[in-house]
Amino acid sequence: MARDLTPLFEPQGVVVTGVSSHPGKFGFVTLHNLLSCGYTGNVFAVGREEGTILDRPVLPSIDALPDSAAELLVVCTPASANEEIVRTAATKGVRAVFVAAGGYSETGETGAATEARLVALANELDLILAGPNGQGVTSPPSGLCAQIVAPYPPRGRIGVASQSGNFVSAFLNYASQTGIGISRSVSAGNAAATGLADYLEWFADDPETDVGLCYVEGLHDGRDFFERVQAITPRMPVVVVKGGRTSGGQRAAASHTGSLASDDRIFDGMARQAGMSRAPSIEAAFDLAATFATQPLPAGNQVVVLTTAGGWGVVAADAVTTHPSLELAPLPKDLLTAIDSMLPPRWSRNNPVDLAGGETRDTIPELLDLVAGHHSVDAIIQLGLGIQGNTAALTRGGPFYPDHGLRRIVEFHENQENRYATAAVEASTTHDKPVLVASELAVARPDNPMVAAVRASGRLCYPSADRAVVALGQATRYASWRRDLA
């Protein structure tokens, strides 16, 4: 039975300790973030200064907190003060504590003893204890930004739990950049009482979360983590990035197996066995989590690459072919005949389906629907969009705009890009298959109307075909693993 973390992620009222008027201090920043991101519950500040900070009256101590007014306590006071604060807070109706403050086990033996006392206290008082030494929590469905750092991400379906606060921020930055939002995020800090498996278990039951995304550095109990995650992955995909790949433990030399048993290889096997999707980098992890959060799971491994022109299709086809979980689908005869009737004969007549510039106004939307609707196709990677939008941008900014008929053509190009992005989502939704749009414009020109329209549709515009293939490959592997469980 998963620990109920609702008071941490959806608290009725929040109180922050250690608030001062210095805008560089964690207490101030936390209060500022709580008051600035749309949280509608009560927010209380506890500090030593009299008067107001950010227009909030400062409570002189936690004793002054009204009863049952705050469920979440965010602790920015020094370690030495916190046991007393936590004990009092519990009497006021606080149910969850996030300890942002450091000075615990990360500092050595004395800190570890302090941490152990804090954990014992939380257990005694039946409090959820997150941290210590963590950056905080965000929960866009409840407007909550209880963290000592930025950013506050857009709302979405990805639940983040990380042993590094910086990587929480990295994931939230990607969320802000791509528009693929976050349901909950938590920096586990020292994970003294609440660990990654606790968060993932709660995410798996959380109606706001569709995919877990976590960064792991070390585990208190690897076997326990394995068993609990293995129980989660049949209903929620979990993406993991592991830090410390190269720190192989010293092992008994008598056994050859022992010398080959690096921490990383065992973690890798464990992750696969638990049904986790291990990503090689932070950005690949986000790509994959975004894929799980926004695309249907592929029903098989047959991929069609669609491209308007050029080498994109060739490179993407190479990436699909060499991926162990994917196959470049042979183009079925009926599909080939159907495409023949839509295009001049110079199209590739093969997969990748290269239009070779032969498309007219409606070709791409029709083709997307046609290919996605074919029973032998499991997923589509669409490349080569954005060209018209790019041309439109140059034209619009040039000295001849809007004369010479330029206004009309610019609008046509921009509308077309919108249609393509919309058609990709429609084909995906209608036929319940992943359709991944990839273009370097996602990064190079995020204002391109195609990129903007993909973003507005709630999908990820992948920055390259290779990244789309890697994400699709892992999603396909997971889907296959999950089917095999049935």
Binding site: R223, A254, R265, G269, D484
Partner: protein
């Protein structure tokens, strides 16, 4: 932690279902000759004892022996090479398995994740390529198949140089046997190194088991002399 003799190691894994090459033990060169004739030439002759974990480094094995006379000579030399610290020793005679493909499999106890089963590509370049993969024990047949699929060198498991593809079910049997052995908490590690693929069948030709405690002597001697699973 202690290693046990190859004979005792072979008995341990064979009882769990691992296919090992034909073998017998002998107290002296003359009985070694008898054993070799029963197994059929060519054979390998090794010095066998609980404290002898690394035969190759000490030159304590003779491979590809084709005649009774050579078995006798090898037996004499190996017994003379024994050191006092080797304790009680005997001769181990094994069939020479012939195959172009070598795999490695084993069991190890990880401090974080507990017992883990390994499968990898063996042979002299094994450590260079390190094409190995792990699963946590206990594991089922489907997970064992998944482990096979993790190896990069999938071509090595297919038809190869005129030999049939590796019998994946047999390899899964071996993996599952190692997984079963993890139930014994006294068992620290197992090396099947190498597993030689003979006509598609993976056969363990060298086995090393490491235990927490040395079993009381006698237990394994009895088992070993009767222990020809083939």
């Amino acid at each position: 932690m202690v290693t046990i003799s190859e004979a005792a190691s072979r008995t341990t894994v064979a009882n769990a279902g691992v296919i090992v090459s034909d073998w017998a033990t002998a107290p002296d060169p003359e009985e070694a000759v008898v054993a070799a004739k029963t197994i059929g030439f060519p054979v390998a002759v090794k010095l066998c004892g609980d404290a002898i974990a690394h035969k190759t480094e000490r030159g304590l094995l003779r491979l590809g022996i084709d005649s009774a006379e050579e078995v006798r000579e090898a037996g004499i030399e190996l017994l003379e090479a024994a050191r006092p610290e080797d304790g009680s020793v005997e001769l181990l005679i094994t069939a020479m398995a012939r195959g172009d493909r070598e795999l490695i499999a084993g069991l190890v106890r990880d401090p974080q994740f507990g017992p883990c089963v390994m499968l990898g590509v063996g042979g002299i370049l094994a450590e260079v390529f390190a094409d190995v993969a792990f699963r946590l024990a206990p594991l089922g047949r489907k997970e064992a198949h998944d482990l096979l699929n993790d190896l990069s060198a999938q071509a090595l498991l297919g038809p190869f140089r005129g030999q049939p593809a590796v019998d994946r079910e047999a390899l899964v049997d071996t993996i599952c046997a190692l997984s079963d052995l993890a139930d014994d908490p006294d068992l620290v590690s197992i090396d099947l190194n190498p597993l030689i693929v003979v006509e598609g069948q993976p056969i363990a030709v060298d086995v090393l088991v490491e235990r927490r405690h040395l079993p009381s002597s006698g237990t394994f001697e009895t088992a070993a002399t009767s222990g020809d699973p083939n």
